[in-house]
Symmetry: C2
Subunit: 425 residues, 2 copies
Amino acid sequence: MKRLKGTNEEIARILAEEQVALTQQNITVEATVREIIQDVSQRGDEALREYTKAFDGIEITDFRLSETAIQSAYNTIEPDVLAALKHAAANIESYHKQQMETGFEDQPVDGVIRGQLVRPIERVGVYVPGGTAAYPSSVLMNVIPAKIAGVKEIIMITPPQQTFNPAILVAADLAGVDQIFQVGGAQGVAALAYGTQTIPKVDKITGPGNIYVATAKKEVFGQVGIDMIAGPSEIGVIADETANPAYVVADLLSQAEHDVLARAILVTNSEKLADAVEIELEKQLKQLPRENIARPSVENNGRIIIAKDKGSMFALMNLVAPEHLEIAMENAYDYLDQVENAGSIFLGHYTSEPIGDYYAGTNHVLPTTATSRFSSALGVYDFIKRIQYTQYSKAAIHEAEKDITTLAYSEGLQAHAKAIEIRKD
Amino acid sequence: MKRLKGTNEEIARILAEEQVALTQQNITVEATVREIIQDVSQRGDEALREYTKAFDGIEITDFRLSETAIQSAYNTIEPDVLAALKHAAANIESYHKQQMETGFEDQPVDGVIRGQLVRPIERVGVYVPGGTAAYPSSVLMNVIPAKIAGVKEIIMITPPQQTFNPAILVAADLAGVDQIFQVGGAQGVAALAYGTQTIPKVDKITGPGNIYVATAKKEVFGQVGIDMIAGPSEIGVIADETANPAYVVADLLSQAEHDVLARAILVTNSEKLADAVEIELEKQLKQLPRENIARPSVENNGRIIIAKDKGSMFALMNLVAPEHLEIAMENAYDYLDQVENAGSIFLGHYTSEPIGDYYAGTNHVLPTTATSRFSSALGVYDFIKRIQYTQYSKAAIHEAEKDITTLAYSEGLQAHAKAIEIRKD
């Protein structure tokens, strides 16, 4: 892992440069994706069938997955996996229920009512990748918050397979997906955004996917809402001399095994710990089945940042703004108020990050590449809308007339003023 | 205005087609904008000076607007405008304070703590257009919610002018802007996203602008957060036979005067009202100073939709999902529960939409082109982040071990499982 050491300003400059490089856009597939989207929006199912044959090598007559296929997945899923999914779903539900919002109303002066309604988004589409990146846990993480928000209809799409992973179908069913369609890629995203003869048009699309899926989501944004464009996974660990190097390394590697582009960043005020981590890293890497992914990941993107004191550890990690943040310190809870930017925080020596990936109930769909500076984990708040309302009585509007028309005239918008003045009579 | 009449399904189909046309992307300026952004991100202030000279025709040595310039605006602003801005600011503040969120924490089982922190975004950039589109009311609407959220630093940028509208500078000062820089266009957006020698890099950019500004915001999204890409203004009016046609028309025109692309849509169950509105429309249009804008707007984009009953009026308007929604009916408040999609609702015969533009305190930065299906008015919630946290004791992680490792192994992520298992010792 590359070691960074210096003043906070020097390290901050390097982190800022690295962050810009991370978010530079990949525009290579844009033209292809735009063509697919336009075609699907015009020709619907016919276009979908052609792209699915071309890209997935499968001829589909009916995109809709039958109720029988979903129910038979319960017969083939491993019982342990089924039990674990049920426990995880219960935890995700109990955590996210706390995010539910209600509206408000006030009457600031006589004759005036102001308020805010909270309404669920009506129909949501969830993209679930195929092949090895098909994670049942992600199905739960995307669907359960939507369900709690009160979304009326949840449509899932996933690329066609000869044999679907039963855990994916069971997770969808447990979480409350209403319909599943076997279609993927940019064509699947286009189908959700514009609707086809068989696939209903949705209001918002969530869920991860490859570069085609991510680019398609960006392109259809505006026509529908989208969640976020996720980058490679990241873990930041703040550790002092009390940390166990073996635990720290195991957690760094749990992110590094995802992807050669994943980032594992340790910030510590202890050079002794940094040295121990590097020795332990080599030891654990050799034992790892996915060493071929984790090794280039830590070698290219791994960082050990040496901070001069505890305050600097937090200041520098706030610049990293990691997706996952572990605080491997005694009394970690007491340092919560020093965290400004992070997707999800794991406190103390025993709260290993994979607890959050699968089990604790917090969401694992998180802002990457320093976007936790301005965005948050997927949550119930992503599946609702807030609608303002106002009511003025005749007396109240006359009371406010002078101020309103003064501003309207000063902005040169006479019809705005007129709409108030006409109500004098 | 074009009249639509038929079954709900027939009208729904037409509305869906119109909505797709509205959101089709304008990609003509993308290449230019990308070049400007890259140049500014690399050369900073030097590039800014060149673009400002080329596009605004002004040579700038110092982009920062002096404290003296801001204070002297108080001497030139009309006293009535100053008073109105102060009243509006107070209303905006009292409404938006109700949107403040707090975190939560629970202890679902022994040894487990889960929670959510709420943190303000650290630094926000607000874009304020120049020329005739410089609205002091928009400055208040963008800045006050950020301030309430607790944003530490608010940077405003606006294109350079020979003489700035004093109301813009006063509004910025009243609302709590920390620094103002005189730079606009895609180059200004790039400066906020990447930072230059004099302009600080921000975490999120809000505020309206022309096609260059909107495209630039879309391009830098990811590097920074953005609010929304606003389209032309819209008003939807639901009116029954109790509505006053003169009021309805005045309100339709208050949006139509904004822009030839603005949309004014009336949904009514009364053909008698529809006829009266068309007669009144011609009468009021002729008296309007901005007739040259409002007339093509209503002729091209105006719609009168005839609904067969009250339920259909709301069902069809929910498909329109208008930015502004007026309910011009007796007991309008009682119909709130029928609204699913709208940015801001104005209730009853006296609550004219311009009340919300300037005064009531609800936000006037609203989702357009049917995006209220999945998004909301600008609010305090746009200037905060929610950060999850979890703490598991040693006993609690052992309790959860089997479920977590079962899921990790089933997804083929061995390092995830290992990070849990290593904590046995």
